[in-house]
Amino acid sequence: MKIPKQTLAFLQESGGLARFAGRVFTEGLRPPFELSEFLRQCYLIGNKSLPLVGTTAFIMGLVLTIQLRPALLSYGVESELPYIVADAIIREIGPVITGLIFAGKIGSGIGAELGSMNVTEQIDAMEVSGTNPFRYLVVTRVLAATLMLPLLVLLSDAIAITGSFIGINIKGVMSFGLFTDEIFQFLDFTDVFPPLIKTFFFGFSVGIVGCYKGYTSSRGTEGVGRSANASVVIASMLIFLIDLIAVQITDLLGFN
């Protein structure tokens, strides 16, 4: 049986990625841990992404509120606007938009960084000098991405809801107390936890894809660009796939 070349390449890529992910767990759970490098990566991945993520979240909250307002007005449920916008942000828009921005910024960054290190044979040099490059470069970055994205999502949710509050007060008047009351009157733990849990998977997928594409980039400067590009595309695609699986699971568990 002859498998088409592209299908074979896709299967090889998937297999490679899965084995890479498995190696992250086996290597990452064993000491010694590269703690200072992990914290440095957390700062770079988390703190440095906040301005971009915050800006997009603020705009999303503001725009969503202004766009939804006429539709709710026609049904006479304008007072439900804070809850509807907040629920949409917390359940879907916050995690997915932040995940995509994160994939664009961090996935491409990791892919390009590890790719160029691979091209300039720094990884090989690291191995020669006695440092485990996989543990030092990959595990720290993947772990940092996995833990930082949920925090970024929480902050971006808060910023987006603030944007929504401003959006409501552009067209009408609502006190902040009433605004938060409207939101938390209906908000449930099942609105908060499933999205928060899926952001860990989003972060992990962005980190692992970036590292994999960088770590296994082909030789030459061209390979660096290609690995950066591919890591963004695949990570974004994976975010949507995980989102699809997550919504199915939460639905099965009755949290929707």
Partner: protein, 327 residues
């Protein structure tokens, strides 16, 4: 501060900020779900909970005081709803309070309303069973509305027919459009006004007359009010009665006389009968009358001769002259 340490501090701030957001959100949600703080349990039995769900709000006089914790089916006609209510409501809710099912708006979530009653009772304790009132089902309301709608439909149909008939009626419209009629009605009302005023005057007069009569003024007053006059009238009346009685006797006597006269005439007794009945008497009377006639003729001739006698001629001439002057 070394660069590394500075980055670490920023990272710490970032993590703490995100953690604070999560904790605040969880606290606010938990507060609304009444998972935090101390609570006690109240129970209520319903026949039908109409879609109430665990977690729905419990309100006391419209204020949210708790949530529905559990619903159990006791038997085929009774459901037990367990309510989780804030601890401080123990000092507010009394045992005679009534739990009823309501809705948050027309289509909103179901809520359990705890309504206080007028009479006083002791405060509730943990696990108390509240009495309930059956919920107003939207279906029932709609059913009533449907029959109301049918009635309105029938009413509007008949109203339509009525207005159509009114519109088609030419007589009514001419009546409405006739300006002269309005003038006439106006004038008539004026007349009526005047008549009423006159009637008022009349009644005033009648009243004064009646007052006079009552006080015994005037003939009517005297008649109606004067007791002495009454006595007189009574005596006159009795006298009148006596007079009429004697007149009756007189008539009876007269009757007897005429009867006797008639009898006499028939029997041929008395002078009248002689005149009327005896033919010889009538012949004698007519002869006597003839003799009287001839006697007066002779007398006339003697008088004429006397007129032409010279002794009496001047007297007759003077009488003639006087008659001519009068003419």
């Amino acid at each position: 501060m070394p660069r590394q340490q500075q980055h670490l501090a920023r990272l710490g701030f970032f993590v703490l900020a995100a953690g604070t957001v999560l904790i605040i959100a969880l606290f606010l949600i938990g507060k609304n779900q009444h998972l935090l703080g101390s609570h006690f349990v109240l129970r209520a039995h319903f026949r039908n909970v109409a879609g109430l769900r665990t977690g729905n709000n419990v309100r006391f006089s419209g204020i949210e005081v708790g949530t529905v914790r559990e619903m159990r089916i006791l038997n085929d006609s009774t459901l037990e709803v367990t309510l989780l209510v804030k601890e401080d409501m123990k000092q507010v809710i009394r045992r005679n309070a009534i739990a009823s099912l309501g809705a948050d708006g027309l289509m909103g979530n179901k809520v359990v309303n705890i309504l206080p009653q007028a009479a006083t009772a002791s405060y509730v304790k943990d696990g108390d069973l509240l009495s309930t009132r059956a919920a107003v089902e939207i279906d029932d309301v709609l059913r009533t509305l449907a029959s109301t709608g049918d009635n309105i439909h029938a009413i509007t149909e008949s109203l339509k027919a009525t207005t159509a008939r009114i519109n088609e009626s030419r007589g009514l419209w001419t009546l409405i459009e006739d300006e002269q009629l309005a003038h006439n009605i106006n004038a008539a009302s004026g007349h009526l006004n005047r008549a009423a005023a006159e009637a008022e005057g009349m009644t005033r007069d009648v009243r004064s007359i009646l007052a006079d009569v009552r006080s015994g003024k005037g003939p009517a007053g005297v008649i109606l009010r004067d007791t002495a006059m009454g006595e007189e009238i009574r005596s006159s009346m009795s006298r009148l009665a006596a007079v009429s009685r004697s007149a009756e006797n007189l008539a009876a006597d007269l009757d007897a006389v005429t009867k006797r006269l008639g009898n006499d005439l028939q029997d041929g007794k008395g002078p009248l009968n002689l005149v009327l009945r005896d033919t010889s008497v009538s012949g004698r009377i007519s002869r006597s009358l003839l003799q009287v006639e001839s006697g007066t003729g002779y007398f006339n001739q003697s008088m004429e001769a006397l007129r032409h006698h010279f002794l009496f001629r001047s007297y007759f001439r003077r009488k003639e002259k006087g008659r001519n002057i009068q003419q």
